[in-house]
Amino acid sequence: MEHRNYNAINKSVRKKDAMQLLLGKPVYTEDVVPDDALVVKLLRSPHANAIVSEINTKTAKLVPGVVDVYTWEDVPNTRFTNAGQTYPEASPYDRLIIDRHVRFVGDVVAIVAAENEKAADKALKLIKVKYDVLDAVLDFHKAKDNSLLVHPEDNWVAPCEVGGSNLRNLVASEESSHGDVDGIMADCDIVLDRTYHTKSYNQAMMETFRTYTTMDRYGRLHVISSTQIVFHVRRILSHALGIPKTMIRVEKPRIGGGFGAKQTAVSEVYPAFVTMKTKRPAMIIFSREESQIAGSPRHEMEVRVRLGASNDGKIRVLDLYTLSNSGAYGEHGPTTVGLSGHKSIPMYTGSLEAFRFNYDVVYTNTMAAGAYRGYGATQGIYALETTVNELAERLNMDPTEIRYKNMLKEGMIMPAYYNELASACALDRCLDHCKEMFDWDSKYPVRDMGNGKVRTAGMGMAMQGSCISNLDVGSATVKLTEDGSFMLLIGAADMGTGCDTILAQMVAECMDCSVDDVAVFGADTDASPYDSGSYASSTTYITGKAVEKACMDLKSKMCTIAAGLLNCSPEEMYFESGLIKRINTDESVSLKDIGVKAQLNNPTIAEASASHSSPVSPPPYMVGMVEIELDKLTGEVEILDFMSVVDCGIPINPALARIQAEGGIVQGIGHTLMENVTYTENGKMIESSLMQYKIPTRLDMGRLRVEFEHSFEPTGPFGAKSIGEIVINTPAPAIAHAIYRATGVWHREIPITLEKIAMSKPEEDKE
């Protein structure tokens, strides 16, 4: 696709904070905490389901340095959710700051505030707790309508009707369909009915959850937190602590990674509560173990796919049922599950005559899940793409051919995606490009390398969204300074992704200036314009459009100020090449002069703010292909080459888009081959450290190649769509496919461990 030459976008500009980060400057939450801040630590439940019958903190409080110890008796009895989502909040109000009823191993029993870490640790050991231990719901298959309730309380509230009921262990439930699913299924030549299982993978961002709180100069609660969602944190704290929003300021410094984990207020409420009680600065730093056992990981899901096709490879009908495990609390439970169907089924719009998508989201006594890059789509796409690969293999059809036959193409209406129009879709070109660059035709055949080793390849396609349509709000404020440069204020959160820089590139594009002439500040509820926050792949697409709008508005204000300087009417002025010019003259005013004038006897403010929401959420698309070498005797899988082609519209910053893709692919490789989450029979998580929860090292990912196929999304800023999440979706189906090619076994549960590969025998042909 042709694209024009840009001044500042579609360019690989360095991130604005790059050198600060690479040279190790103190820019993270822990680095800005003063020495006198109280250390906050949490006593956590050793039981999966229990009632605290007695708790004695007397001895703990006597430890020198211990300032106070708080239990369920000290906190408000108003339930809230930690999920960072827009109104209307979809997640149930099912939490207290400390609940007498603890619901998973790791649930909070007491908060300790101490002058130093040693005192806090000592106090934790001296709190005496008696538990009435209850039976626990640990198997998510058995949760729905179980007589054992995870949330039996009568003040459980669902602010939004999502089909949930605490009396059924149900967080949410929905049924939707289009067309005559059963009739068409009965008419199909071939029906595959397959069930897949994915685990509650941990984001394992390098910086664990952490928050620092203090009282500001006005006596307000000032929260500095590693969060993706400053405005939602303000709302959650206001709700949980029962204080007005005007009394809370939330800001984020640099964030050591999020991937969705920090779209939930996992750590904020504890030091905030301590600061409100003691009026002293307080800080909580989650240990890696706490991050692993009490974070906000991916929802464990079981996805059943029924696929009906004709013998010529036409996929006619899809029927998905997803069972999602929300764990002990409902954060993001009602919303993640939807993507398992809504972001998988539409890829086959090209041929699909009917579809059905039903789901249940259940409570269990395991760690609460949350938001993780891909947000349900990852699980659904693994299931559906693996089924489509199996269909291709059964029909002896090349899996790329079966995609060409059925895939979504630009201009189609997607019934399975809220009837949105695929206004920009290069999925077919992504497949062409990937197939050629990867050399699919020579890598796909199984090649015996001797000594038990074989090489072969597999593939998968993916889509995601670019925001939450009709909900997300992105905003930007752009100000002109008196030297003609700009200041951009945002409420979106750069968590390493580079959105500060990407949005500055957009300002520079609009204002015909250099990216260096745009300074960025974010995110701070006191200073930033409202933004839902950085999640749902929305920052480039939604906040980016707000930047464009704000720039347009600022240009008109600059015209007004310039008109004052030239004593003419603003209508005569226009912006061109970094100057405000007067029509039909060679008169012009520099931005510097306008900036100075703005500060001198001037009634027009040289700044503009704008918000943006979108009625649609245009999907980015992606094709991933992997070549592996598999050792049939040991089960070892070596990733040799992972090639992917992404359609994210126009990449605003190709270098950063490429890194997003590479990072997402490696996380996906981790989920597929080595990251596991298992529990003891008492509900204690075993992979509670990076010693046991193995994320890929640089020796585990082979060679990555990422290319882009441009499309132009008319509703996006400069034609851009999103990239942050989609990139995690292709490794699981592609690698599972390659493993099948090498071994004859379809693995329908990830991670696919070495042992499973080495010890599984090809299944009997069932159909």
């Binding site: 040279l23 400057k25 390098m206 990674g257 890696r288 580079g498 270098a655 996380q667 990912m701």
Partner: protein
Amino acid sequence: MIDITLTLNGKKISDSVEPDSILLDFLRDHKCYSVKRGCETTNCGLCTVLMDDMPVLSCSMLTARANGHKILTLEGLQEEASEFVGFIADQGADQCGFCNPGFVMNTIALLREYPDPTDDEIKSFLAGNLCRCSGYEGQLRGIRNFLNSRSKEAK
């Protein structure tokens, strides 16, 4: 308490520390905020510092053991780091940045030990430095570009 004297980033400092003081905490107490803790189990490499010019995990080093030794953190190696980190920045591979100091410190150690490393040598030397954002490929491209530009300059 134990009295120790060590050279931190070229400056001799004396202090009294608890017998179980860990070097990582000691260094952060001495304003070396580049030194990060990413795990508690020696797996992440974020706390890498140089002890007598050798990369070590400061999370697993008793401060008492640093007595009489030379410790370098990124605060003391700004110039040496500046030679190559721009190439990482050009790839956007800094990302969240939290693993960067440990990664940069170990890359310094790598480049001192192997002035002209192969890709395989780079990968295996840095294998103990985890990064969850970048997917590693951009870090490798950055180092490779630095080495290429350096060898071009030499010619």
